[in-house]
């Protein structure tokens, strides 16, 4: 009965009164669906709104629980001023801003570097696993794939301590390159997972033709397969950036000052007593802004990366 209502089609021969009841139920159901959607949208977005609005509040606005700018409270640049990012301080010298920008670029370089490295070696491996039969001793394709994917299970704590000591010996502690290597390891299984799915959907007749024409397998890969697999690579790349940008555990253990990333800075500020809310809110806003933008504009690719291989 209500299944029919979903299409808005009441039974053809039903008496008028029951059709009216069905429309009534239909309207109630629509209202309930949109109410539930609105409720969860509120839950999902309120913390973002709260953080953004708090970064423009003064102490008394926070303590009095004001929520709506201009109506409740007068927005002020205080939070961004303390970071050196407000309109009046942006051209003046600011130590806090220098520190913030330093961490910001560390985050950018580590995320981009690790994602690029992982996508390059991960795509190559995924293509190999998708197209060729390997035999390394007793290892076949299945074992190699399992070896890569099993890294997902490994909790960071298992590697953290050995890395700490190894990196000390290798003079990689507190360097961006060290962090890039760890992050590459972290996202590599995911990249291989996404890219294998991508390559598996490309029929290999396309390369077959190129190989017959005298192309080498590397030539066929670069000139023919890669352009087709581009969306998958973008998806893997963006998903990797999100994971690397947000990583905290390794960053806090393996960096001291020079290579520190944004999450470590946010965390160290969170821990200190008596920090102003507006400063913390401004810092959080600045730290999450790039990812919120990615989420809004590149949502398609994130969904594509997350759902690789699950639709089958």
């Amino acid at each position: 009965m209500s299944a029919e209502v979903a299409n808005g089609v009441a039974p053809r021969n039903a008496p008028i009164s029951s059709r009216a009841a069905a429309t009534g139920a239909h309207i109630i159901e629509r209202v309930l669906i949109y109410a539930a959607l609105a409720l969860w949208t509120f839950i999902a977005l309120f913390p973002l709104y709260w953080t953004l609005s708090t970064s423009f509040k003064l102490g008394r606005d926070v303590t009095q629980g004001h929520l709506i700018p201009w109506l409740d409270f007068q927005p002020s640049w205080k939070g961004f001023q303390s970071l050196g990012l407000s309109p009046d301080t942006i051209f003046a010298h600011s130590n806090v801003r220098d520190e913030f920008l330093n961490k910001f670029f560390n985050s950018v370089i580590c995320s981009l570097g690790a994602s690029a490295l992982a996508v390059v070696i991960g795509s190559l491996a995924a293509y190999g696993l998708s197209r060729f039969d390997y035999k390394f001793g007793v290892w076949r394709n299945k074992d190699i794939s399992f070896f890569f994917l099993s890294q997902l299970i490994l909790p960071p704590v298992v590697l953290a301590m050995p890395f700490l000591i190894l990196y000390k010996e290798l003079a990689l502690l507190d360097t961006r390159i060290g962090l890039i290597l760890v992050y590459t390891l972290m996202v590599l299984p995911i990249v291989i997972w996404v890219m294998r799915d991508q390559f598996d959907t490309i029929p290999n007749e396309i390369e077959q033709a190129a190989l017959v024409d005298g192309c080498s397998i590397w030539g066929a890969f670069f000139r023919i397969v890669l352009p087709i697999a581009m969306p998958g690579m973008v998806a893997a790349f963006i998903l990797s950036i999100v994971l690397c940008w947000n990583e905290y555990f390794f960053a806090s253990l393996l960096t001291g000052f020079d290579a520190q990333t944004l999450p470590v800075m946010v965390a160290s500020q969170t821990g200190s007593q008596g920090i102003n809310w507006w400063t913390m809110a401004a810092l959080s806003t600045a730290a999450i802004a790039p990812l919120v933008l990615i989420g809004i504009f590149l949502e398609r690719y994130i969904v594509m990366g997350l759902t690789a291989g699950s639709g089958k």
Binding site: W50, T51, P155, V157, L159, F249, V266, A267, G311
Partner: protein, 365 residues
Amino acid sequence: MTGGKFEAAHEDLSERRVRLGRWLFRLATLLLIAVVALQTLDAAGVLTIGFANWRPVLYTYIFWGVALGSSQILTRGEAGQQAAFVLPALLFTAAMVIFPTIFGLYIAFTDWNLNAQSGHHFNGFDNLRTLWGDSYFWNALSNMAIYALTVLVQYAIAFGLALLLNADIRARKFFRVAFLLPFMLSPVAVSWMIGKSIMENRFGPAATFARAIGWENPAFFTSPWIARTSIVIMDSWVWIPFIVIMLLAGLQALPVDVKEAAKVDGANRWQSFWEITFPLMLPVSVTAIVLRVIFELKLADIVINVTAGGPGGATDTISSFIYREYRDRSNVGYATMIAEVYLIIIIIFVTLLLKALGRFMQKMT
């Protein structure tokens, strides 16, 4: 997989080329062994070359990897070219995982403390014995079980949300982006945004709301069960979108005719969900739940930054416990032992989980 796999063509490689390839590999291996030996002797104090650090070994390893790839191509032709696709990732992962794992096992059996002046010594099973009697470890482990169980609640909520998004609605794109956004945020930022400000006892909106509905002195992190619930709420807030996206993809891939059949039969919606949609969604659900449990077992950032494991270890996870063991006490040896034991527990648990789910799936289909 579409079509068959490519087979490497048999080609006649000149003998000189094959010999060159073999020698290249042998030389590179010798070089690697030599550098490792020299560094080891230098570190042991037998030789006094005075290496500043172990980087030479790192560079030689990279060179060895390149030599291995080239020699594969030289000696095996097209089969070698095929191997060159997977070699970089294999060598990288091997170096980054296998070596630290072996090294980690060694650390786990020492009394290594970064603050100790006397260096570190092999201490056999002492760390294991300490671990056995450490109530904080068992407490953290039982917390992990609780956290892992909450995945089922997250799954139930996520399924509801996925059904909502899959319904015939307007502005679907807007709702999808809105639902996704929490997943984009770093747990550390979430720790402040929700844990330290929205759930703040005096001025946080959550506390204001709690007072409004009659909770006199709201405190979200002082009593064990409420603190645990608060952590779970934050963690769910971040991760529910992940499950929603996977389930939504599954729902959209469902065959349309099956649903139509349910409607024609006059089954009501509740029945059609349990008898048709839910069973068809089982494979996707299992994938989502297993992945989510695996990620849940790594839970650390939020706990470290909001409660630091408190009150009295009520919210501790294994990862946050190890983090404190290292950060506050520099107890590298013991912390590594906990990590290794935890890894073994995880491997056993995930294997059993996959087995049980596999059997369950077989019974269902």
